[in-house]
Symmetry: C2
Subunit: 440 residues, 2 copies
């Protein structure tokens, strides 16, 4: 008998491979970091170091949160329901001016705990002191694509603006060849980065063959500002600067016209959709069905906890599906399979990791989650895709394996001390209260 | 020392009373079925039969799911992402034709388990064989307002159409003076009930002084059909028939114009908003901010599991808040306090239970839940309202007390055998599969 490390048996296996193969019941087996076998489970025994019984639950690829600002967990609920400028100027900026690497580490560690507990195994992040996000992810055993946010003004992290790309280069070199952490070049947006900075960012990304991540057309105000400055919309501006290419990951893309969609599709650029953040900040509704119809790769993200206020990609799927149905007044758009694909295979493709993760296929890395369906709200089960999108919650995920390593077992985190992580986060929150005069 | 039955200490008490008093930290004490005291917790001891330590969590009134079709849990995920007519004709109607009281009981019991586990303590229901919903609710210890759905055609439950109101009267008499179950008159909708049936329903409701519950203006197709038949919109039709009064509970109210809103407000009729169902079926977005501004009482509901697909009112709050922000392109509308009010005090008022439940006030019935916030996704806590609406999930609720009785303790249901309930539901789902040829 072929020897395996971990074998998960007796569940509905949603492979999310390009043919959307399902094995019911099925099994998934790992060896080292890899998926060694996937198939129908006939009740037999395996030669495995460890066997996990999914007990009729759902076995699927780990979810991919394709846009986060992980350390912003420490801002969760600090200032909801306010106009964007007040929120930024009174709450976020005053804190970001005073934060340090230990703040970012505490917030990122908390984020990793929350993400693993809700089924995410890979995330793509943008923030300050990003080496601390990489460290927290690595320690927790999560897969990630991270990048230091760069813009035209000084950063609390790397100092003067001109240091931004050098700092990014050093991050890239530090994490080169790491099995879990990879690094992108991440200019913040078209309205906080000059054309020269954007072009320099592209050059760095091309030089090291890494993705370029930026916010694009998130708000109408942004679109109007770019038009005022450059006489064209954000996507055309990106295109004219040469940035609209296959290595671009464009977050949000809420305000696009037909020409923008065609340009993104033609360029092979990838998009990340963040419906809950776009709703909560009243940014708008991204034309996702049109983007998918145009053949654009779209991943799904939660954005940061300052604008969501959670990192639960399972409920984000639910919102994504329902939002686009009502926005298009058509209940057939964004069906459960489409949305689950965005959160798995689509997210992997959006991050350039389609050969590594996002589906359960032999030879890919073993990023696998198990959902416990023996619960009233997941009973009965006619259709596991439907359950994943419309009925499950992040905390229905019972087990998580990342890169072949069991990181959560029956909802117990094996790589993070949750009590200590919560304690540290609470301490940092006390700093935040002091800095902004909260409750004073 | 005043003797209490249960006292919950050491939490953020969100009373949701009309002044929105908060006690941090606070306590709530019960005696018999009632709330005996609410106030600031100073660390002292109480003379109580039982003390529950909320451990820094949130203590709030039990949530009120103001519109459900509880037994439709047995349809969860059977046919998503389809046009309404196909969904009804191929899946729902063929099953409803063959179901019986045991089917409804099994589905309602499953629904009660799911609702208690996600923080709901009171629900308002409409379905067939509704005496079984009342029985399941009563056994589980839940508070409810239920009613047999009546319409112009024969019912699998009570037979010929003309029996509908007699059947309702007998339900009303059966449950008269019950501390938990009350009964409403529930004509299905304006397009399935003739003007004569609607007027007779009103008479019955007035005779017994009970609420009148119906679906109103849920879809554009319905509005067009009512205009075609009667030359006026649904609200005007209701008004002209005399039904638009203070005992009316109008579910959905998606497609309203300014005149409709004024009519509803002037009549003192109440509305129940079901954002997730309206999104999933692509029905539209109800003008809730305008209704609230007009002074209309609006409760929050999940609708049935055939169109949601869950009964989690906590995530329904999240969706409600975010949906209306993006629909109005204004992040300040439907703030966390407003939305939590809709799910508690507002829901109680919508169901005519404002003297009984919906807030933590001395003299009201003891319907209380505790949310465990010692979890990564609820850390840190700057604002408990924000946490309830934007970060919590139904399964963060740890304890539930209804009418003074502890029905859930540390997520263990004390009134329902969950394993047995899931088993019975799975059996009924097998019947459904057979009836509609699912997987065949």
């Amino acid at each position: 008998m072929e020897p395996f490390d971990i074998v998960i048996i007796n569940g509905f296996v949603l492979t999310m491979d390009p043919s959307e193969n399902v094995f019911a019941p099925g099994y998934v087996a790992t060896r080292g970091c890899d998926i060694a076998a996937v198939g129908r489970y006939d009740g037999g025994r395996f030669n495995a170091v460890r066997t996990i019984d999914a007990d009729g639950g759902i076995i699927l690829p780990g979810l991919i949160n394709a846009h986060t600002h992980a350390p912003m967990t420490l801002f969760r609920g600090i200032a909801d329901d306010r106009p964007l400028l007040e929120w930024l100027s009174k709450y976020i900026f005053p804190v970001e001016k005073r934060m340090d690497d230990s703040f970012v580490y505490a917030g990122a560690r908390l984020a990793c705990a929350e993400m693993i507990l809700s089924g995410t195994t890979t995330f793509c992040d943008m923030y300050l002191f990003e080496q601390e996000v990489a460290r927290a992810a690595k320690e927790s055993g999560m897969r990630c694509l991270v990048g230091e946010v760069i813009y035209d003004f000084p950063s609390p992290s790397y100092g003067p603006a001109e240091n931004g790309l050098k700092h990014t280069e050093s991050l890239i070199k530090t994490w080169q060849d790491d099995p879990l952490v990879s690094v992108a070049v991440e200019p913040h947006s078209l309205f906080t980065c000059s054309p020269d900075l954007l072009k320099a960012a592209l050059e760095t990304a091309l030089q090291y063959n890494v993705p370029l991540v930026t916010h694009v057309a998130e708000t109408l105000a942004e679109v109007m500002e770019i038009r005022r400055r450059y006489g064209k919309g954000p996507v055309e501006h990106l295109s004219d600067l040469g940035l609209l290419g296959p290595n671009l990951i464009a977050d949000h893309c809420v305000h696009l016209n037909d020409d923008d969609i065609k340009r993104i599709a033609d360029a092979g650029a990838r998009v990340v959709h963040n419906p809950e953040s776009n709703m909560k900040l009243a940014s708008g509704i991204a034309p996702v069905p049109a983007m998918l119809a145009a053949g654009i790769t779209v991943g799904l993200g939660t954005d940061g906890c300052a604008s969501n206020n959670n990192l639960d990609l399972v409920t984000e799927m639910d919102t994504a599906a329902k939002l686009h149905k009502v926005a298009s007044m058509d209940p057939t758009v964004m069906n459960a399979v489409t949305v689950l694909s965005m959160a798995t295979r689509g997210g992997a493709k959006a991050l350039g990791m389609e050969d590594i993760t996002g589906s359960l296929e032999k030879g890919k890395k073993a990023d696998i989650i198990v959902v416990d369906t023996n619960r009233p709200h997941l009973t009965p089960m006619y259709n596991p895709y439907s359950h994943m999108v419309y009925a499950a919650r992040g905390n229905d995920v019972s087990h998580s394996i990342i890169n072949g390593r069991l990181v959560m077992e029956n909802r117990r985190l094996l790589t993070i001390d949750v009590e200590q992580t919560i304690k540290e986060a609470d301490k940092k929150a006390d700093d935040v209260r002091e800095w902004i005069g909260y409750y004073s």
